[in-house]
């Protein structure tokens, strides 16, 4: 009974919640600066570490900067970095995945060899190492996380290319004398779209999480620019005096991730009814 009540419409609940949260994140990222009551970098030392008040709706941080404004600005940072990283990983991953899956032979072996070496590092660790090389900056995070998540895209794309290139209609197209490039563009790539969309949604969540973790470690978005991760990191010493500085950014990350995960589940149910 409860299953009927919650289970089936649960699918729709996933989608609604996911779209709402993701939509809110995008709106906040785009219009954040107009919503924010203050400049996120403006100091107000008398209000330092103060809790929610009419002056600062969500309180102020260790320099008296307005938390609400910083959270809004942080949403913009996180969304932008995650978006750019997903695009970066998707483009590079798709290029290598298609090359490996379609050309096969030594190209495939070479790409997969490097890919497997990348996959032998636990996710965040590779990004950490790359951050050490590139240095902490926004562009650095995009490249480091992009490279860290690229191997998964390569795998997924290669697998779908491999399965599609054996289908009859690809064979037929080849028999008709179409070049490999045309076959790839017309038949193979469009069929990889569904798995790529599913992966991209999931990856968006992973990257927001990884970016906030890197920033929390002090190896991500460099201060004073606010990101949810580095807000937690700088607030950590004040955990006893100003718990709102810890609670709020974490709540933002968690709700965002919950929304994206639910959206991811909904997208998967929608595109891949097997699961």
């Amino acid at each position: 009974m409860i299953g009927r009540a919650l289970g089936r419409p649960g699918l729709k609940f996933n989608a609604i919640f996911g779209i709402a949260v993701t939509g809110a994140l995008i709106l906040l990222a785009v219009f954040g600066p107009w919503i924010a009551p203050y400049d996120p970098l403006k100091l107000d030392l008398p209000s330092r570490l103060s809790g929610p008040s009419p002056l600062h709706l969500l309180g102020a941080d260790e320099f008296g900067r307005d938390v609400l404004s910083r959270l809004a600005s942080g949403a913009r940072t996180s969304a932008w970095i995650a978006f750019a990283t997903v695009i970066f990983a998707l483009i590079t991953g798709t290029v290598f995945g298609v090359l490996a899956g379609f050309l096969r032979g030594w190209v495939d072996r070479a790409i997969m060899m490097v890919n497997d070496a990348f996959l032998a590092f636990p996710g965040l660790l590779l990004a950490l190492g790359l951050m050490a090389v590139i240095g902490a900056s926004r562009e650095g995070i995009i490249v480091a996380l992009g490279l860290a998540y690229m191997p998964i895209v390569v795998r997924v794309v290669r697998a779908s290319v491999m399965s599609i290139r054996e289908r009859e209609y690809v064979e037929a197209s080849r028999v008709m004398g179409n070049s490999e490039i045309i076959i790839m563009a017309r038949h193979v790539l469009p069929n990889c779209v569904a798995p790529i969309i599913v992966l991209a949604t999931t990856m968006f969540g992973w990257i927001i999480l990884s970016e906030s973790a890197l920033s929390f470690l002090g190896l991500g978005v460099p201060p004073p620019a606010p990101s949810w991760g580095n807000m937690l990191s700088t607030a950590r010493p004040y955990i006893g005096q100003a718990p709102h500085l810890i609670i709020l950014p974490g709540l933002c990350i968690s709700i965002t991730l919950l929304g994206i995960n639910m959206l991811g589940d909904a997208v998967r149910d929608w595109l891949d009814p097997k699961m």
Partner: protein, 313 residues
């Protein structure tokens, strides 16, 4: 069986070689000259050249790699630029701390999440199932470092039940050590239970759809007997593979958790080395963690046939 083990062992070797190449190449891209870094800003040009020669930096890159790889194989990971300590003993020392916490977390998380996922699958869409799925989705969405900070806030600061930060080795004072690891371990358990429960549920549902389950029911077995004797046993092997993957994500999470709770583990060592640009330590710890990850996945592959007789044949 012996052949299976040997082929699987052999297949890990190229991966490890590639991992070492990747780590080596990555460190070659670190901005700045390692010899200058080692000597500090006040070094004379002559000293730098001598240092470069001593470190083998004037050799061709391939030769440098081979020398380094040879040293690594003989257990010589170089010395830390910052402290001058040998890197490998330092890593092993710190790893003892991290592995204790990771091991406890995997153990507890699997003990809770695997049965939870399987029980949820038992009756799909029941209240129990919806609860497990919702809880695991929520847990999946909470970043480990925030969860750690929140637990610290509640159990350490408000309730005052547990120590907030630090670490005491189990060998020194077992009772104290246990108190200090509770919060980090609980944090990791909560974070990793989400994916484990989801995987256990999915593989059980998959198995429950199969024909031999209908056959078992046609014999007159009760639903619980069918689940225990037929479904869980078959769903366990795929879940085990996931625990290998979870260990990978734990090796990432531990870096963050050690920072939250100020635990002197391998993750903290790596992060500090990155701040200090102590590249022999960075190189060594990255290589070490990747090695552990490859070995664990190897072990999972080797244990798999014991649970699934088909693979062993």
């Amino acid at each position: 069986m012996v052949r299976f083990v040997l082929t699987r062992l052999a297949s890990a070797i190229p991966t490890l070689i590639l991992v070492s190449v990747a780590v080596f190449v990555m460190m070659r891209f670190v901005p700045g000259d390692p010899a200058t870094l080692m000597l500090g800003d006040l070094a004379q040009p002559g000293q730098v050249d001598a240092m470069r020669h001593q470190m083998g930096l004037d050799q061709p890159v391939v030769v440098q790699y081979l020398i380094w790889a040879g040293n690594v194989l003989s257990g010589d990971f170089g010395r830390s630029i910052g402290s001058g300590q040998e890197v490998l003993p330092l890593i092993l020392d710190r790893f003892a701390v991290s592995s204790t916490i990771v091991f406890l977390a995997v153990l507890v998380a699997s003990a809770i999440a695997v049965p939870a996922g399987m029980l949820a699958a038992w009756k799909q869409d029941s209240l129990r199932d919806v609860t497990v799925v919702a809880t695991s989705t929520i847990l999946l969405s909470i970043p480990s470092f925030w969860l750690g900070l929140m637990l610290m806030l509640i159990f350490g600061l408000y309730l005052g039940w547990l120590p907030v930060v630090g670490y005491v080795p189990f060998s020194r004072d077992f009772a104290q050590a246990s108190l200090y690891v509770i919060l980090p371990v609980v944090t990791l358990v909560l974070v990793e239970s989400g994916p484990i429960a989801r995987m256990a549920r999915a593989s059980t549902i998959e198995v429950a759809r199969l024909e031999y389950i209908t056959h078992a029911r046609a014999k007159g077995l009760s639903k619980s007997a069918v689940m225990w004797r037929h479904a869980f046993k078959n769903a366990f092997a795929p879940t085990l593979t996931l625990i290998g993957l979870v260990l990978g994500s734990l090796l990432s999470s531990i870096v963050v958790i050690e920072t939250v709770f100020t635990i002197p583990g391998l993750g903290r060592l790596l992060v500090d080395a990155i701040y200090a640009r102590d590249y022999p330590v960075i190189q060594g710890s990255m290589l070490f963690v990747a090695f552990i990850y490859v070995v664990v996945n190897l072990l999972v592959d080797l244990v798999y046939p014991l649970l699934d007789p088909r693979v062993a044949a």
